[in-house]
């Protein structure tokens, strides 16, 4: 890691605690496993899922280029098993919304999210997907101000565009959210 990473993990508005109780106010459907507990099996499955997050091949704008860069030789998303970019939403686990979603595109993005199979996660990449970013100004007519207006988002990665390290950190945060603990050491700040 070249750059110190500290502020990557933004607090999620609908913070979803991994564990037995569904978080209050969570919009997620109650899964079977939240009622009947198979603790060990669930842990094992969570571990498997966290190491096999296949993203959807879905780039919208500038951030998509950095998303590609994160998969390339220098950063190599493949180390975390997340380089299998699947073009069909049926086979993808995590949707990385990389870029501005405008009002014309919003139904398509929503449809893609609906077509993914549970369990599914969403990473909002870049300021545009977080809040509309630089295109969010008084009197704007085109864009959706944050992709969490369309469907629940699990990890927010700020930046315009975020660096590839930030994208990897987003994936790691998601792993942390799925399993409840962090696998990869946190980069230390150089003093």
């Amino acid at each position: 890691m070249e750059t110190p990473l500290k502020s990557m993990g933004q607090p999620t508005p609908q913070s979803f605690q991994p564990g037995p109780q569904p978080a209050p106010g969570s919009e997620r459907p109650v899964e079977c496993s939240q009622i009947a507990q198979f603790a060990k099996l669930d842990d094992l499955l969570a571990l498997g899922r966290s190491y096999s997050l296949w993203p959807l091949t879905f780039g919208l704008a500038c951030c998509a280029i950095e998303m590609m860069a994160a998969g390339m030789a220098r950063w190599d998303l493949a180390r975390f098993g997340a380089e299998v970019f699947r073009p069909s939403p049926r086979q993808a686990d995590v949707m990385i919304v990389a870029g501005t979603v405008n009002k014309k595109m919003a139904p398509a993005v929503k449809l893609l999210y609906d077509q993914m199979l549970e369990p599914k996660w969403v990473i909002a990449l870049g300021n545009c997907a977080l809040s509309g970013g630089p295109f969010n100004f008084a009197g704007q007519y085109g864009i959706v101000e944050g992709v969490d207006k369309l469907f629940p988002v699990d990890v927010y990665v700020p930046g315009c565009p975020p660096r590839p390290e930030a994208i990897i950190e987003g994936i790691l945060k998601l792993e942390e959210k799925i399993t409840g603990k962090r696998h990869f050491p946190v980069a230390k700040l150089k003093e």
């Binding site: 094992l44 499955l45 571990l47 498997g48 899922r49 966290s50 190491y51 096999s52 390339m72 030789a73 190599d76 493949a78 180390r79 975390f80 098993g81 380089e83 299998v84 699947r86 073009p87 069909s88 049926r90 086979q91 686990d93 199979l117 549970e118 369990p119 696998h183 990869f184």
Partner: protein, 342 residues
């Protein structure tokens, strides 16, 4: 215990072993593919799950198994569910007939070669039905492609195999292996005194195998940039996983067959170290070398175009393989003619 020596029990054990082998093998070949891709592309590849990424296949399979099961609206439910089963069964059956070592074969059929080919042909049907049942336009286009491609490449492949049959005179895979004993110069691929075009024959076989298993540069079934995910577009979770595994199992079958037919199966390349367990070692070495080549090719070449693919088969491969067939026949029979005349 004499009970274990009995044939049905033995076959049952082999079936279990082959199922396990196919499953593990396919899972780890996926990892190998990702690692080789990483090597070719100068990056490490999966290395965080387990030691050096060795647990990665389990993570993938666990995740795929635990995905939601969904049959998309409008699909032909029965066929949609059946296709993954149909695609997985043939390679398992084919592996039953492959001699892995001298005394290590599930069932030494005297029609082993025909067995492999006849069950291998079910694969096409399965892919096609899967694509059709999905009722997705990409899948339907893709399944049409799969069929034309497989029909086109079945012909040169069978012609090549018939050439080999003329040389070996038997369809038993075990006997074909036994014939190639005594060092690599006895392997079929180097038997240039029987037919000087033997290496060409192997290349044709290899190309056809790539095409039959829908591997790059002939991966028309899953032409990602054109047809999203081709036949598998509507498949998710383990349905997709089974297709994925079947693809790798088919590669294993193809490479096993190539090893037996051209590279002397379990025979040692140097004549020594050939008995018993060494056979298994040699067999696996040769097979995995071929599999590595298949993956290497995938990450090196771009995809061809569909009409180029058909042209290659009908205009180049079939004429050449017909010529080798004729040449082999002539070279086998000419000495007899010579003897009869003089």
């Amino acid at each position: 215990m004499t009970f274990l020596n009995l044939e049905p029990i033995r076959i049952l054990l082999y079936v279990v072993a082959i199922c396990a082998f196919v499953g593990l093998n396919a899972a780890y070949l996926v990892l190998a593919e990702r690692k080789i891709a990483g090597r070719v592309q100068r990056r490490p590849g999966p290395n965080e799950a387990g030691w050096g990424g060795l647990m990665q296949p389990f993570a993938d399979v666990g995740k795929l198994l635990a995905k939601q099961i969904l049959v998309p609206a409008g699909t032909d439910t029965l066929l949609y569910r059946m296709a993954p089963l149909m695609v997985m069964a043939p390679p398992m059956l084919c592996l039953m007939a492959v001699p892995y070592a001298e005394h290590f074969v599930a069932r030494d059929l005297n029609l082993g070669l025909l067995f492999v080919f006849s069950f291998g042909s079910i694969n096409v049907m399965a892919l096609m039905l899967g694509g059709w049942a999905s009722r997705n336009k990409y899948s339907i286009i893709s399944s049409a492609r799969v069929v034309s491609q497989n029909v086109a490449y079945e012909i040169p492949m069978l012609l090549v195999v018939i050439t080999l049959l003329m040389i070996t005179g038997t369809m038993s895979l075990q006997e074909i292996t036994v014939q190639q004993a005594g060092g690599f110069w006895h392997w079929n691929v180097f038997r240039v005194w029987v037919n000087p075009l033997m290496p060409v024959t192997f290349i044709i076989f290899f190309i056809c195998m790539l095409a039959e298993t829908n591997r790059a540069p002939f991966d028309m079934a899953e032409a990602e940039s054109e047809l999203v995910a081709g036949v598998f577009t509507e498949y998710g979770g383990m349905g997709f996983g089974v297709f994925f595994m079947a693809e790798y199992s088919n590669i294993v079958v193809g490479c096993c067959l190539a090893t037996v037919l051209f590279f002397g199966g379990w025979q040692s390349p140097i004549g020594i170290l050939s008995g018993g367990a060494w056979g298994l070692v040699w067999f696996m070495l040769k097979t995995y070398a071929l599999i590595t080549t298949v993956m290497w090719v995938r990450w090196t070449f771009p995809r061809t175009q569909f009409y180029l693919l058909l042209n290659l088969s009908w205009k180049i491969l079939i004429p050449i393989s017909l010529f080798t067939l004729l040449l082999t026949g002539a070279m086998l029979k000419l000495p007899l003619l010579w003897k009869a005349l003089f």
